[in-house]
Amino acid sequence: MKKGYLGFFVSLFLLAGTAWGDAIKIPVASPFTGQLASFGEGVKNGALLKGSEINASGGIRGRKVKIVLEDELCDPKEAATVATKLANDPAVSIVVGHLCSSATLAALPIYRAAKLPAISPASTNVSIGKMSPFYFRNVYKDDFQGLFLAKYAHFVKGYKKVAIFYEVNDYSMGLMLAFMKEAKKLGIKILGTEAYTADTTDFKPQLTKFKMMKPDAIFIPGYAPQGTLIVSQAVSLGIRNAGFFGADGLDDDLMLKNPDAEGLFVTTPFLPDKAGPRAAGFIRAYRKAYGKDPNWFAANSYDAVGLAAAAITAVGQDRVKIRDYLASINTREKAYEGVAGKTYFDKNGDCLKDAFVKEIRGGKWVSAQKQLRQ
């Protein structure tokens, strides 16, 4: 029984490994099912859109591109399995992924060992960059974003007393630490920090504490699903004259459904109306394909696939050459022009990119009147 079973399963893998035809494979690894599937959706849509656009314009060197979606549920264990699968597939020369930093960190050593370059459209954890020369990302790091937010809160909004409500995860804590460091310099008083976990829906105890502190604003360096709950629960508790702000984690249409979130502002790597003509086409195509506006996950993954395609076009399917090509995009002049601005990498493979601020006005995301120039 055991042997028969083994044979069956081995042949399945063989099948999976060889079934694709002549197309150039660009795998996209992200959570497409499970709790974080809603984040992965943007990544999926953006990547598929770019893929079909490339194919419509004749493919890469005359060959079609096939976007292969690899689901890893944001689970480090699954991410490592997926990474092994990709690393051992000779048809794969570059990977777009992963989304969660924990998944990225689990997959990283495997890509490194297989000399397989990877571009993450969304992992913002600070410690990733130094881990591997084969890892790139076209999204900024948490520390940059936190610093930017502190400056914005101080110079544009003029907040004096801020309370921080963070999620116990790497993204949120990295942001918080960067924000606090800069806030200290700028003289913003941090009234208190409270934590929550992703699986909770009751934020009232912590918010009640904030209410008594009477902050000017509450900084929520978390994700939208919890962010929207936090805002509405805060309002129902009677926190009315405090502002709310967050980072790109809150940049989601989910927030728009919440009438209490009026006035909330966030940082984002991608602003449709500030992105120039290149983005306009993207937004139109995206609306046509999926019936809604792209979020920054979509824009970044669109760009990441574009970068991958550009690299393959330039140097072919050799993994190390692709890596060298990507690493050579290291100044503003050589930058890849994507829909989410120019992308170029520093020596760690981290990208240096502008951040924008947008806020909710009348139930819509609009770019904030005042942007902060770096």
């Binding site: 918080m176 630490l177 920090t193």
Partner: protein, 394 residues
């Protein structure tokens, strides 16, 4: 003949209903002692007290000269309570003192938590009877653990600073935490010793059923309690548990000693199975045995612990006359091996045939004792069994 079992003024009550009241009895070496009585007379309760599955409410049991159930007077209980309270205070004091040694200024912060834990402890303490004392003591240890962990977290510097995240230069508040974690096992150990050891020594704990078996008293059960999913042989080998010594390491490395022991146990188990007539069935699962065979297996398992006293709880229940005749022979042979037998039985024929001395229980009281002939003619017994006035049970 030496007395092997002595029961003095034994009482047992369940939430106000007394199942046994002032039982006095004794068994001498080599006797077969019978206990009879109508249903609900408290026979099985008596057995459970003897094998320490129940703890008597009052009275004493001596096995040889070893007390199995020491008496707990209410005065003694109060003393235990007082002592435990002292230990509680000591143990709760201990943690902040320990902490203040490592982290100056910790004492003050900690007081509220300690007070809360103290109140909690005292409150639960007043609820607990002595029977659950051990659980109670363990609960206390858990409090210790909780307190230490709470402290470790408390003192761990509530503000989340950059230093903490990078883990390079620890702020002063953190010096305590690794120490606290390192000290946890010690604190647990000493806490345990503080709470349980003196109480054990001073007041004598009840002996567990396993210890009773090790002392040489084995039993069977009214409703058969075999290990049904194990083989017959293994059932008997489990019975021989306390005659063997090998532990984890010897079993892992199959030392010569362990192998010899296993072999001996297996041989003896087979001998015992032959003794009760189950040798042919040694390698089937106990589930597959017939009812009468299961009864005999239970006896074999009890004998495997090499007991001096064997308690048989209705061994003939559900047997046909042929089987009970076999059983009578078997019990006689057991006695010939030098094992004293204490037997509960409904089947009067079996009892009258077997017993040297019979005790009669009714409604938790001992109403008669004597040789089978005396019992047969005792008017109290006749009344208990038949509601009075009619002939003696045959």
């Amino acid at each position: 003949m030496k007395t092997i079992l002595r029961v003095a003024r034994l009482s047992k009550s369940f939430g106000g209903i007394s199942a046994l009241q002032d039982i006095d009895m004794e068994a001498r070496e080599g006797q077969i002692v019978g206990i009879i009585g109508p249903n609900g007379a408290g026979k099985t309760t008596l057995f459970n007290c003897l094998s320490s599955l129940y703890h008597p409410s009052a009275g004493q049991i001596f096995f040889g000269d070893r007390p199995i159930a020491p008496e707990f007077s209410s005065k003694k209980k109060k003393l235990v309570a007082a002592c435990a309270l002292v230990f509680l205070f000591l143990s709760l004091l201990w943690t902040p003192i320990f902490w203040s040694l490592f982290v100056p200024g910790a004492l003050f912060k900690v007081e509220t938590v300690m007070l809360g834990l103290l109140l909690l402890g005292v409150r639960f303490f007043t609820f607990r009877g002595l029977r659950r004392f051990e659980i109670w003591a363990w609960g206390l240890i858990f409090l210790f653990l909780a307190a230490d962990i709470c402290l470790a977290l408390f003192l761990g510097g509530r503000p989340l600073s950059q230093d903490r995240f990078l883990g390079t230069s620890l702020p002063l508040g953190w010096v305590g935490t690794p120490w606290a974690l390192a000290a946890l096992p010690f604190s647990l150990f000493f806490g345990l010793q503080l709470c349980t050891a003196p109480a054990r020594r001073l007041f004598g704990f009840k002996i567990g059923p396993d210890a009773v078996t090790r002392l040489g008293m084995a039993r069977t059960f009214q409703n058969i309690r075999l290990f049904f999913h194990l083989s017959v042989l293994d059932n008997v080998k489990i019975g021989a548990h306390c005659t063997m010594r090998s532990g984890i390491w010897r079993s892992l490395f199959r030392t010569r000693r362990q192998r010899a022991e296993e072999e001996g146990a297996e041989q003896e188990a087979l001998n015992l199975l032959r003794f009760v007539g189950l040798e042919q069935r040694a390698l089937v699962l106990a589930d597959a045995l017939a009812y009468g065979e299961q009864r005999r297996l239970e006896i074999a398992r009890a004998l495997a612990s090499r007991p001096r006293l064997l308690l048989l709880d209705e061994p003939a229940a559900g047997m046909n006359p042929q089987e009970s005749a076999d059983l009578i022979r078997l019990i006689r042979r057991i006695r010939e091996k030098g094992v004293t037998v204490l037997i509960i039985e409904h089947d009067m024929k079996v009892m009258m045939n077997l017993a040297d001395i019979i005790y009669v229980l009714d409604y938790g009281r001992m109403i008669a004792q004597g040789t089978p002939e005396q019992i047969r003619t005792d008017p109290k017994v006749i009344e208990a069994y038949l509601g009075g006035g009619v002939h003696a049970p045959a």
